[in-house]
Amino acid sequence: MRYLPKSPAERQDMLAAIGAKSIDELFSSIPERFRLREALHLPGPLSEIEVIDFFKARAAENSGGYTSFLGAGVYNHHRSVVTDAIIQRGEFLTSYTPYQAEIAQGTLQAIFEFQTLMCQLTGQEVANASMYDGSTATTEAVLMAERLTGRRRILVARSLHPEYRDVLKTYAKNSGLLVEEIGYGPAGTLDQKALQAALKDDVAAVVVQSPNFFGVIESLTPLADAAHSSGALLVTAITEGVSLGLVRPPAESDIVAMEAQSFGLAPSYGGPLAGVIASRDKFVRQMPGRLTGQTTDSEGRRGFVLTLATREQHIRREKATSNICTNQALCALAATVHLTLLGKEGLREMAHQNLSKAQFALGELEKVPGVRRAFDAPFFNEFTLQLPRSVKLVNAYLLREKIIGPFVLGTAYPELTKHALVCVTETTPRAEIERFAAALRKALEQPV
């Protein structure tokens, strides 16, 4: 049978050594009547070649051959084959959480480097070893703020990713948190007046995203000031990490919840991605998730260990800062390798290419009659367009042109059915941008 390293004779020998007459005897503690009498009805067994054929057939039923203008939390960026070569080394791929530090220094040092990179990117002082994704990182950041402030009201920007808001609500429901949403202004940024009005001394956190879900960049300093002045913390979510190559880091935020997918992770239909929480040193003992720390061995040599474990479920059980155990370690390693490959200049250049292409795309698309930019705050690689008709209809037309059109904002914002969130990254060729503009023009010329 596949993957099993025993010959029939070896099985018999081992049974004999145990003193069991048959394999079934080993399962005698399971009441007879509950033991399956027939084989499970599962497809297979398939040989390696058939497994590959099966998934190739499924892959062929997906979106191959289309050009996409989707972002909205998952981004297409160039990735190096080097990253994959590294994370496929069995030593990284097939090891467990580094509980036994002496034979896990590779993973531990890499996590320490990841934590450092995340701090450098976000302008924060400490970062953890990863969370499931940006959505749960944001939620856990809010729970952390709750613990830090002892307050329970949470003000969340409506311009935070709709699915992130959903996840927060799922978790909040039974934690006694009160989640309120703050709208956006005409520039697409958080409605500061509404924020001021809602801010009371019972607010644990103000949660914003930047660039926000409409693509526009929030001014974090006034938001931080406002939050702080009422004793609340500012939690900033970042879904597009590449922006940090060119956009000021959220250093004034108290907690940053970031999605690291843009750093070398494939979209993979939405997972596995990798969330991160970064914050201030003084808050570290309320952080969720694993942390690697530097220390020395009995002979004084530098080494790394998992540390501050008293925050975690395996030590603290019901008093833990979070229930997270398995995280997204290999994704974090991929991000570490990817960012190291890009380096200081490379990340900056990648960010600059995104910015330039998005600017170019906006220019091309604005030339299409009836199309206008919806919000005028600065943006990075996503922007919101207002179209003269429903985005869904337009997208249906684009699809026939082998273009996957922009994200339909109307699905999450009923007031924005004619609004489309366009994403353009360094991977989008100029010619495709131009083709998109031309197709959009044609789409809008179609009789409705």
Binding site: L42, Q109, T295, G343
Partner: protein, 503 residues
């Protein structure tokens, strides 16, 4: 190295500082294709948000330095690909290479979660088939593939239970959890808004059904049970336990981390379990990757189906599959997008490779654990003597007499060429040695492990210092964990205080 250490030997490996310490301005590795549109002026485009300076301290290194850095680091790890990794409760089995291959295919790894559903039928079929397989394996009625890991599966499961009780008028207050449970169980219960009531295991390691009857009150929402328990023992009275709970309107949650003992042999659904999670990164062989990612699907009985988290995969009238994002009674969304899709792909690849033969994997896993138990009984104390399933838990009681504890034995195992077993739990066994070989170990590797353990037992009696100061062969010796926690250094800093690198 002494003669008795057969499996490991010395080899020079490469030292390596932190990547930041190798950085030098102007070095580059990955470069981008040239920009094909006019370059934007960032200060103009971004205004005040523009970050003028580069990111301080960010690495600047070349491609060969990246390759060497991470290759060298990798050689400091132990891994399944190198040898037995008998971490109890972690099910460190072989991670087939073909699964990595299919997860990276164009058309799989490249898909965007918001692409049109008509262009996602391949993804949907993968999800649907995996759902069907997991239902068949667990004997349950419905499943969600959303949760990112076991702990999130637990939370999802408890939220389903909560929603169910709420729908019935009262969410209830408490969740019962045996003292042998994994730490995520109580931690999760709290997030779901429940109080935890620990229940003490019986002296033979099982739940005391008589006492349970008393504990189950209308306040109790559920019992979270791990089966086989973390002692590796099958809870024989589980159908009765289910009845007791159900009689009082409470539900039975099963932590399915140990499904490697049951797959193909028995089905939790048939045993009276109402809801459970699976750790695909344990039982279904998706690689642990140094700590993750995983996936923690939750399977449930019909009564809980209305509450499943969105999105939900449904079959349309035209036979096409679709994801639904809104369901009136749903607990909501537990994670953005569509679960850890890439992990789900690997798990399906694993199941397809075995087909109904998954049963044989279970058999071999239980065979290995019992073989090891048989050969180590006597050398180590066996606190619970009921039959072992996929893992066996010893204690260090015999070695403690000489001042040698489970962690010392674990560290000494490293010198013998093995990854240690789990030492941290179950808490009900003081000084536990929790050994789970999985089906992936050959007889040869099991025999070497047994030899090593017996030899260490002997050393503990004759030369305890040797064991207490282990490991002796690793590039670093035991690390100062107390110091690390007292004055945490959690990131590299340009002028940070540095201790000397390994030499």
């Amino acid at each position: 190295m002494t003669d008795k250490i057969k499996k490991a030997t010395h080899h020079p490996n490469q030292n390596e500082g932190l990547i930041f310490e190798k950085s030098s301005p102007g070095k580059r590795a990955f470069e981008l294709p040239p920009l094909d549109v006019p370059p934007a002026d960032p200060s103009k485009a971004l205004g005040a948000a523009h970050r003028h300076e580069g990111i301080e301290g960010f690495p600047e290194v070349s491609e060969i330095e990246v390759i060497r850095h991470f290759t060298r680091l990798s050689t400091w790890n132990y891994a399944i690909d190198l040898g037995m990794y008998p971490l109890g409760s972690c099910t460190m089995k072989y991670n087939p290479r073909v699964n990595e291959f299919v997860a990276r295919l164009d058309g799989i790894a490249t898909e965007h979660p918001y692409q049109p559903q008509e262009l996602s039928q391949g993804c949907f079929k993968i999800l649907r088939l995996l759902e069907q397989c997991l239902l068949e394996i667990t004997g349950m009625d419905s499943v969600t593939l959303q949760p990112a890991a076991g702990a999130q599966g637990e939370l999802t499961g408890l939220l389903l239970i909560r929603a169910y009780h709420e729908k019935n008028g009262n969410p209830r207050k408490k969740v019962l959890i045996p003292d042998s449970a994994h730490g995520t169980n109580p931690a999760t219960a709290v997030i779901a808004g429940y109080e935890v009531e620990n229940i003490k295991s019986e002296s033979h390691g099982q739940i005391n059904v008589v006492k349970l009857r008393d504990l189950v009150t209308p306040d109790v929402a559920a019992l979270m049970i791990t089966n086989p328990s973390t002692l590796g023992i099958f809870e024989q009275r589980i159908p009765e336990i289910a009845e007791i709970l159900h009689a009082d309107g409470a539900l039975l949650y099963m932590d399915g981390a140990n499904m490697n003992a049951l797959t193909g042999i028995t089905r939790p659904g048939d045993l009276g379990v109402d809801v459970m999670h699976l750790n695909l990164h344990k039982t279904f062989s998706t690689p642990h990757g140094g700590g993750g990612p995983g996936a923690g699907p939750v399977a449930m009985k019909k009564i809980l189906e209305p509450f499943r988290p969105v999105p939900i995969l449904v079959e349309k009238e035209n036979g096409r599959l679709a994801l639904e994002q809104v369901r009136p009674d749903s607990i909501g969304r537990v994670k953005a997008f569509n679960g850890n899709f890439g992990v789900l792909v690997r798990a399906l690849a694993y199941i397809l490779a075995y087909g109904p033969g998954v049963r044989e994997a279970t058999e071999d896993a239980v065979l290995n654990a019992n073989y090891i138990r048989k050969h180590l009984e006597g050398a180590f104390d066996l606190p619970y003597s009921l039959p072992s399933m996929h893992e066996v838990v010893f204690s260090d009681a015999l070695q403690k007499k000489n001042g040698v504890n489970t962690m010392d034995i674990a560290k000494r195992l490293i010198d013998y060429g093995f990854h240690p077993y789990t030492t941290a739990f179950p808490l009900i066994v003081p000084g536990a040695l929790m050994i789970e070989p999985t089906e992936s170990e050959s007889r040869e590797e099991c025999d070497l492990f047994i030899d090593a353990m017996r030899s260490i037992a002997n050393e503990a009696a004759t030369t305890p210092e040797l064991v207490k100061t282990a490991p002796h062969t690793t590039r670093v010796r035991r690390l100062d964990e107390v110091g690390a926690a007292r004055k945490p250094i959690l990131r590299w800093k340009p002028q940070g205080s540095r201790t000397r690198a390994v030499d």
